[in-house]
Amino acid sequence: MSLSNRIKNQHLLSRAGFGVSIDDIPHLDKNNNKFLKEIIKASQDTIQPLEVQDPFVENTLKSMNPDERGDMSKEMFSEMNKPKGKAIRMQSGKDIQQLSIDWMHEMVYSKAILREKIALFWHGHFACNVNNSMYEEELLSIIRNNALGDFRILLKEVSKSSAMILFLNNQQNSKKHPNENFGREVMELFTLGRGNYTENDVKEIARAFTGWQVKTGAGFFFNEKIHDTGNKTFLGETGNFNGDDAIDIILKQKQTAVFISQRLYRFFVNENIDASAIQWLSDRFYKNDYNISLLMEDIFSSDWFYNESNIGIQIKSPVVYIGGIRRFLPMTLQNEEVQIVLERLLGQWLFNPPNVAGWAGEKAWIDSSSLMLRLKIPSLIKNDETLDLKPKTDDDVQMGQKEYLQIGPKKKKSGGYQILASVDWSKLLKAIGEKDKTAVLQKMKSLLIQTPDNKIDDAVIMGDKTDEDLIQFTRRITIELMSTPEYQLC
């Protein structure tokens, strides 16, 4: 059975982007192929740079003498406890929070939805947590600029970023004292996947990366003095390889194209891999010399992407969930910082992945407390109720001190957070373009619920409040539909 353009386009918007926005509603019946082309084109437009870093961080770090600064690994974690270190950390915390808010803003309002969505994928794929705004900003910029470009360039730039070199301890990787962490993770997490290299490959490739270091504020530099110039043998090749050679050798392995195709398929299509689709995608990805944009076009234009078994079965990540609500509801969010609290409570705090393996995704998003909170958030938006929950503390940022980040106005009595959003319900009703309650319900349901054969009983949603006017009705049913388990899926 072939699906309508509307269903296909909604599916595309939910996977290639962050769901249907109020502005998309009039265009949903467009030819699906044309719709896809527009999304891809919009995502190749000039990028909106995200620059939030206060010069204080960079200036202070640069002004410190090497002794004050200590080991560069201290520029990321909380161990630098001199007054200047503490000031840097606090400013970094504020900067990273702003970076996160600005990026969320792009996800919600930019037309380049595919680029921001795949950037979110790379943000988890190249998981990194350095609590230093200068380095986090640089890494996000590399990821967003190359998100749909050449995977070889993306991989090399990420691997040479200050954030990643510090995070994966390559600063300490020298001929005399090799540190295997960086080389291991490049193969295990970034390219080949576990089981596709030997322990000996790890040892040898680590030697190729010796000397890849960074300098405070100046970024990557190749420290020849500590580079191992001997012959190395890994992945079946022998030679006096350096780090760039190592990455090229990894990319020669077809397995890299397979692994990246699998990861992208899981993120954009279905967590259960389809072997023939992966074979086809990875063959083409390899042949196209790792062109990410072409790979994405392959995915979104294939018949299987629009197969019913792939629609409405993905659990939205917290960022997609929050972004999706903001895209659909015409709303102003007075305290955007509250999104950080929600991200933390729901388990996807941007710039703070749980570990180098990134976020596990799918069912791992859902536990009793995160699900109950998701089902409650829409009514918090509607009623300005207080969110009386506290995220776990993060000692890497806080160093035992109280939470210093200002997260919106607090209610005095309970100390909870308020979402403080105002929604223009009549604008939404106008966009829906329906005049009676039954029609509004049907339209709203088709826009918000992606599960093909959903069991939501209209009678439960309609209710028996006959005195509601159409706007009140629209408001109530929108909130109720967003408070269903089905709405968690896309």
Partner: protein
């Protein structure tokens, strides 16, 4: 549409009469009087978040290196209670001194893991997931215990974390612990009339389910949360303890735990955290304040359990993601270190007092204590000897057993 709780439960009881109704919906018909048999073993995990300074907790006061390394923050003898001729315990932990004297405290020194990590989040991740420091797991050791023990559990009450969000420790592949700072609030959130009507609506259509789809998983979690919340709420009120507890977050949590244990609730693992022990600056006052909270809460809890003959069935242990460096820093504090000590409290300890040697301050690794006991051995021992579980499967490898239980 508002459904009264009683009639709701009746409705779902009818549903369970049908063989075709998937198991998870039985969760809604859970008998709220269900209890566990007498002698059921309970574990309480007390996480000291932020990296507690073990050397100022259990103090080697006869060791010169200790005072040389800590000229300002080294504790003098009048700031501790002596356990042996060489070892003292922080003076705010006076109840732990009593537990030590009566043989209900075990102290295990130098617990850690190879190639230690100094980031809070990574080291906590290693402890909670029970992974090696060069491996990354997406599940926690308690979660994997639930995966093993709880394939058929209809509720989420086997492990209960007292917080608004669930830690990595409680996340399994198919099972997860329940997280709630306060049972009453969880109940309040989950009994929303609209959500209940959704659960009921979904139930009508379940005969069509052949295998669990994502939406089934969500409904199952919602239904299980609703029934678990009401179970925990009812149980924590059915034989509510009459003992007095300190009015701190930890005191309140321990009081709820006690009430649940006294009413023979089916929860086997309770998980509580306190912090922050990240004492880079002005360590003395902060650590003492936190110890006082722990001491008072555990004193009330222990006495309560003893008075109700439950102390033999409960094992509590403490841990922190790392210890701190042997030498103090320039801010009257200590920086991130490695190996640390753990406390074991309970009426059923097989080995008491100091379970091994104090850390060797002469044999350091660049200023840090060397670990002597892998923390995964502690988990293996607790899983096998206390909870009767398959530790090898849960931890993914065979660890050496210790003999404290």
């Amino acid at each position: 549409m508002h459904i009264k709780r009683r009639s709701f439960i009746k409705l779902s009881s009818l549903a369970t009469a049908s063989l075709f109704v998937p198991k998870f919906l039985n969760a809604m018909a859970q008998d709220e009087n269900a209890t566990v048999p007498k002698g059921n073993k309970v574990l309480v995990v007390l996480q000291l978040s932020g990296g507690n300074d073990g050397l100022n907790t259990v103090i080697p006061f006869s060791n010169d290196i200790y005072y040389k390394s800590r000229p300002v923050i080294g504790l003098q003898k009048d700031k501790m209670l002596t356990l042996t001729d060489e070892v003292g315990i922080h003076s705010e932990l006076s109840f732990f001194k009593s537990l030590y004297d009566e043989g209900n405290l075990g102290i295990l020194n130098s617990v850690g893991y190879p190639v230690p990590d100094r980031s809070h989040f990574r080291s906590m991740d290693i402890w909670q997931s029970a992974s090696d420091s060069n491996k990354y797991l997406q599940t926690g050791w308690i979660g994997r215990y639930l995966d093993e023990q709880c394939m058929d559990c209809e509720m989420l009450t086997t492990a209960l974390e007292f917080d608004d969000t669930l830690s990595m420790a409680g996340r399994g592949v198919s099972q997860k612990a329940l997280a709630a700072k306060d049972p009453a609030r969880l109940l309040n959130n989950s009994k929303d009339a609209f959500l209940k009507s959704l659960t009921k609506m979904y139930q009508h259509d379940l005969h069509s389910i052949e295998h669990e789809s994502p939406v089934d998983y969500l409904y199952k979690t919602m239904a299980a949360t609703q029934s678990s919340a009401s179970y925990i709420f009812e149980k924590s009120n059915s034989k509510k303890t009459t003992a007095t507890y300190p009015n701190t977050q930890l005191g309140k949590s321990m009081k709820t735990i006690s009430s649940l244990i006294l009413s023979d609730a089916n929860t086997q693992i309770y998980y509580v955290s306190i912090g922050s022990f990240d004492t880079h600056v002005d360590q003395i006052g902060r650590q003492a304040g936190l110890f006082k909270q722990i001491n008072d809460a555990i004193e009330a809890f222990t006495n309560d359990l003893k008075a109700n003959n439950k102390f033999e069935d409960v094992l509590l242990f403490t841990f922190s993601e790392f210890g701190r460096r042997v030498s103090q820093n320039a801010s009257k504090g200590t920086d991130h270190g490695t190996a640390n000590n753990m406390f074991f409290v309970g009426g059923g300890l097989k080995q008491k007092g100091l379970l091994n040697n104090m850390p060797d301050l002469e044999d350091l690794d660049a200023g840090d204590l060397k670990y002597k006991v892998d923390f995964k051995s502690v988990y293996a021992t607790v899983l096998k000897n206390w909870l009767g579980a398959d530790d090898e499967k849960i931890l993914g490898k065979k660890m050496e057993y210790l003999s404290f239980v």
